[in-house]
Subunit: 159 residues, 3 copies
Amino acid sequence: MTEKKKTTIVLFSGDYDKAMAAYIIANGAAAYDHEVTIFHTFWGLNALRKDEPIAVKKNFIEKMFGKMMPRGAEKMGLSRMNFAGVGPKMIKDIMKKHNALPLPQLIEMAQEQDVKLVACTMTMDLLGLHKDELLDNIVYAGVAAYLGDAQDGNVNLFI
Amino acid sequence: MTEKKKTTIVLFSGDYDKAMAAYIIANGAAAYDHEVTIFHTFWGLNALRKDEPIAVKKNFIEKMFGKMMPRGAEKMGLSRMNFAGVGPKMIKDIMKKHNALPLPQLIEMAQEQDVKLVACTMTMDLLGLHKDELLDNIVYAGVAAYLGDAQDGNVNLFI
Amino acid sequence: MTEKKKTTIVLFSGDYDKAMAAYIIANGAAAYDHEVTIFHTFWGLNALRKDEPIAVKKNFIEKMFGKMMPRGAEKMGLSRMNFAGVGPKMIKDIMKKHNALPLPQLIEMAQEQDVKLVACTMTMDLLGLHKDELLDNIVYAGVAAYLGDAQDGNVNLFI
């Protein structure tokens, strides 16, 4: 029996386009029968946020961070040509015309293909994000778990 | 016979300095007899654009993207200290004084060393870029081809 | 005897949060008994600068770069929500409250754990940085040395 290939991606960025690249590679690798993990840390956690506000107890700074960071994949901005939010709309229109999947559907597809979506507990703590605010079926772990996955990996990327 | 080592780089960024880093690593790896691939996706495609405008049929949004994105390596900006375009000029002056190769020459050298330069067809489609607008001797492929190269790679980077 | 696993990180970014991610992964890998190298290039070199001004002979442009770039880890900005320097202060306050180590201490810890900290000599030259301006116990090397470390590595990241 041959062992499965492994793809492990750290998604640090909170940009729509970079998250798209991460999920396209992840879905591709899953289709190639890789064992795939996306470890969401820092601003990359925003891709996992539910799009409605969730009532959780937060202190002042956590509330501020919660309001200022995009609530879910749909609301993330572009790494360039964002034009105060017009850029993402343009890109999404073009993607629709080309039948390319938008980010929320790419995330759904990843979950259907058993891509392991991990939220970094240390940065959740720092940014004041609670489990209730994130999508279902997320794994919660830290850098040790990431290294466990990555050290035997074939494709390791930091995005 | 020992197998060749493999270096596979995803160039996502459209920044002059990041593209320089990608091409310096790629040229170094080629000199060490690695099999090297740079997979240009999203804004990284701009590094492969010819520097003159090419007449191709585009719709309104594609034309707009085409005009707003830098036309070729020479016109790309810096990831920081860009200062509305003064930064790249400063960096290029310094590089000249230190006999460091500017980006267009680094790309030429990569082609001479048989570094495989791939343009991501999916994002060409999204950004409305045509083959006629890109440099010669480019390979056109998608995420599946990237994974084929990367999964047996020794050095995999996302830049 | 089994060989040690290897983690090799290129730190290109000059952002406080990205450098933190790099050093957290590096310290984690060192704790897992990996052989760890961080290769600081371009803006990532700023993490290695001493925080006081050092008298070295520089030309006009080198002086300007030296003044404009952050002098050491403590003074680096965030990749997003920087808010003209208020963001880093906020993040550092939160980190303090959560007993998370700030970047300068993460760098110290890395040195105590024998993480190899490399400064890219080519970009030191371009940015006009001198050895006297950088922390002690730094290794000075170029892209060839990086590739020597990376090609046998298990975890290779570009941050």
